[in-house]
């Protein structure tokens, strides 16, 4: 199946439609909540939580013996929350730092989960096959009820987000101020963490334990580059997330042997890369362009100053001087001379330049002017 076929069939084919809708909704939810994780400097918390969810899935299977998705995800949610609170405990009660706490919980829980998974695999009676889909995710196993659950949870997240918008926002940017205003910061904090855990758990089936954190981070990190407003960032992140989901599914469906998770992550990574380079405000490309522009402006002004200091010594400011004498000092290029002529600061005659009235005035007032420029920009 080619990519074209995929988009041809996406509305008619039941399986494709379900999967696409599922990954799109998941991407949107992750983008939305990921924005908070990224802004709260909890980017890697998602990584730790998603790994910590694994033993929950295995234990839920061991205890109940069923492969009902909802039950397994319930187990994942509980063990993810235990992991989260243990991380907080380690950071608060001991002198171990955040990175150590995250790495510890991530690897220890995951190792325990793997122990349980291999233990389950060796059990004679169990219909255990299929638990490893939680490692890398398999969007193909999504059914309509899973997608309904995702939509429900996403809508709930959005609702809570709208209800507590003010509280979330203020906690995000100034936690101490929030406390002094009398908000229950602990409650808001736990609420937002709970929803982040929830989004991660929902994504396990599609993207898998190992790569889930990227789906949380990447859309938000990309969206951050385009805006400085929280609301637009969240909307953009949701959009990026949804597109990553759809494109990722499309690409992996059109090729053999491609798990959905890694492809979605790579698509999201491409979004990030594009945003890093091309975003107009913060992007590397425009930053470099602005940098060069500034350097050129400075050079121009430096040359003008030099000319001014030469012209000052003459009675007639427009007395022509040889271009050659500029060479003894730094800061003149052919282009900058042309540019200065364009600005009518100087006039050029063959090998001579002469300062105009306007150029003289500009040089005199350069420093007043620059401060003025900066304040208006």
């Amino acid at each position: 199946m080619s990519l074209f076929d995929y988009f041809d069939q996406v509305f008619s084919d039941y399986t494709l439609r379900t999967i696409t809708l599922g990954t799109a909704v998941l991407g949107a939810a992750c983008g939305m909540l990921g924005s908070f994780a990224v802004l709260r400097k909890q980017s890697l918390l998602g990584d730790a939580i998603s790994h910590a969810a694994l033993p929950g899935i295995a234990l839920a299977f061991l205890i109940t013996g069923t492969k009902d998705t909802n039950l397994l995800l319930m187990g994942a949610l509980i063990s993810g929350l235990i992991g989260t609170f243990w991380i907080r405990g380690i950071i608060k009660k001991t002198h171990l730092k955040t990175d150590t706490a995250l790495g510890l919980i991530l690897s220890l829980f995951f190792g325990f989960g793997m122990l349980l998974l291999t233990f389950i695999q060796k059990q004679p009676n169990a219909n255990q096959a299929g638990l490893d889909k939680y490692l890398f995710g398999q969007a193909a196993t999504l059914v309509e009820s899973d997608v309904t659950l995702m939509i429900f949870v996403t809508l709930m997240c959005a609702l809570v987000l709208l209800l507590f918008w003010k509280e979330f926002k203020i906690l995000l940017f100034d936690a101490d101020f929030t406390k002094t205003l009398g908000f229950n910061t602990r409650f808001i904090d736990i609420l937002i963490t709970f929803f982040i855990v929830l989004a991660i758990v929902l994504g396990l089936q599609t993207v898998g334990v190992v790569l889930m954190s990227a789906l949380l981070l990447a859309p938000a990190a990309a969206a951050r580059q385009w805006t400085n407003r929280l609301s637009s960032m969240i909307l953009l992140a949701a959009l990026f997330g949804a597109f990553s989901g759809v494109f990722g599914t499309a690409i992996s469906a059109s090729q053999n042997n491609l798990s959905t998770g890694p492809v979605i992550v790579l698509v999201a990574a491409v979004f990030v890369l594009i945003s890093f380079v091309f975003s107009p405000g913060r992007g590397l490309l425009f930053r470099e362009l602005r940098f060069r522009q500034n350097r050129r402006d400075l050079q121009l002004k430096k040359t003008l100053q030099l000319m001014h200091s030469i012209a000052k010594t003459h009675d007639d400011i427009s007395h022509p001087h040889a271009i050659r004498i500029l060479n003894n000092f730094q800061g003149f290029t052919k282009r900058s001379l042309q540019k200065m002529e364009e600005k009518q600061w100087i006039t050029l005659q063959q090998h001579h330049w002469s300062l105009t009235e306007k150029g003289y005035f500009a040089a005199e007032n350069m420093f007043n002017e620059t401060t003025h420029d900066e304040s208006t920009n």
Partner: protein, 386 residues
């Protein structure tokens, strides 16, 4: 014990030691998560190396993968320098992307590559003894033991040679730079050693459990001591202990060896976390409770010192005026009584001479904030022990 069993345990112990040593420095430098990033992102390097050499134990493959690890570190630092995202986000963006590339490479070439994703995550220690190093027909033992042994030897040599430099650059980068020891060289040296170790251990314990073997022993040791040498020894001890016990747990459960090694490590860490004498959870809770009572005591004594009126010194007044609960008031009163700081007659509390002295000393400390004022009190009170 059979011969392969002994060999597996020796390999596990060597891997544990080789991971614990760089792990200590990573934890102290607050770079624990870099090990996570490296262990994931060496995957594409590993796969490409495998295409070239067709041998998972080839030194070239290990070198290639280790270079990928160092590239990851450089990439993360480059993204951090742009200032576009926070530093943890940079780590979180780089390694999943590289790992995804690795997974896709494996999936697309499933027929050619004798590598599957489970092995990447878990490794397979149980098969390690069967891949033997043969030189002109003589069996010299398992290949992975040789590889890890060499890596461990290099690590130990480097740590002994550069111990002073590592120590200084870890705890005070500024001082080390001014002494002429480049923190940058130390940083990349450590990163290279970690990278090589992760790649070497990868085959045996897999991508994620390598992280556990690096961080958990070091973190547990850090809770028990603040002496670098002791911490190194403790971390090695925890690592080896978990490796050996983990092997037997796996044997008993018939499950993954690396998984059970990590689980044992987790239990060891949990135990230390709860019961560490100074920095453990219980010790901290106890100390906090004690400090709370002592602050209350101090408040109470200052209150008594300030008031001579009888109604201000009545027992019930504590509850009414300072707004303490009954239990708390009783604890504070008992503590003060036990230390002979107050006497109670007719439910009226008054300071003894000792109490008065103590209060004045404490007041002086509060006003001047000089440590020497409280030296003699430190033995009796948690509060002043910092």
């Amino acid at each position: 014990m059979t011969n392969p069993q002994i060999e597996i345990q020796v390999i596990a112990a060597v891997v544990a030691i080789a991971c614990a040593i760089p792990g200590v420095f990573l934890v102290l430098r607050k770079m624990a998560l870099i090990s996570d990033a490296i262990s994931h992102s060496i995957l594409p390097g590993l796969v490409l190396g495998f295409f070239l050499t067709h041998d998972l134990n080839s030194p070239i493959l290990i070198l290639l993968a280790a270079i990928t690890g160092v590239i990851t570190v450089i990439l993360v630092e480059a993204i951090q320098r742009t200032g576009l995202v926070k530093e943890d986000t940079a780590i979180g963006l780089v390694f999943p992307a590289l790992f995804s590339i690795g997974v896709i490479l494996i999936a697309k070439n499933a027929n050619d590559v004798h590598l599957d994703v489970d092995a990447v995550l878990l490794g397979e220690l149980a098969f390690a003894p069967f891949d033997r190093l043969l030189i002109s027909g003589i069996d010299l033992g398992p290949k992975s033991l040789w590889i890890m042994g060499v890596i461990l030897l290099i690590t130990i040599t480097l740590v002994i040679l550069f111990f002073k430099e590592l120590k200084i650059s870890t705890f005070d980068a500024g001082l080390s730079a001014s002494l002429g020891i480049s923190p940058l060289v130390m940083h990349y040296g450590l990163m290279s050693v970690s990278s090589v170790t992760v790649v070497g251990a990868f085959d045996a314990v897999g991508a994620i459990l390598v992280v556990a073997l690096m961080i958990a022993p070091a973190a547990a040791a850090y809770l028990l001591t603040s002496d670098l040498k002791k911490m190194l020894w403790l971390a090695i001890g925890f690592g080896v202990f978990s490796a050996l016990l983990g092997y037997w747990v796996a044997h008993w459960l018939d499950a993954s060896i690396s998984g059970s090694m990590t689980t044992v490590l987790g239990l060891v860490f949990l135990f230390v976390y709860l019961f560490a004498p100074q920095k453990g959870w219980i010790a901290v809770l106890y100390r906090q409770k004690q400090q709370r009572t002592e602050v209350s005591l101090l408040t109470f004594l200052l209150h008594l010192n300030n008031h001579s009126e009888e109604n201000e010194r009545h027992i019930n007044h504590l509850q009414e005026h300072i707004n303490w609960q009954r239990v708390r008031s009783k604890t504070v009163l008992d503590l003060a009584l036990k230390n002979n700081m107050i006497t109670i007659s007719n439910e009226i509390v008054s300071l003894t001479t000792k109490g008065k002295q103590f209060t004045e000393l404490a007041l002086e400390y509060i006003l001047t904030n000089k440590d020497e004022k409280i030296e003699p009190m430190k033995d009796d009170f948690f509060l002043f022990r910092g």
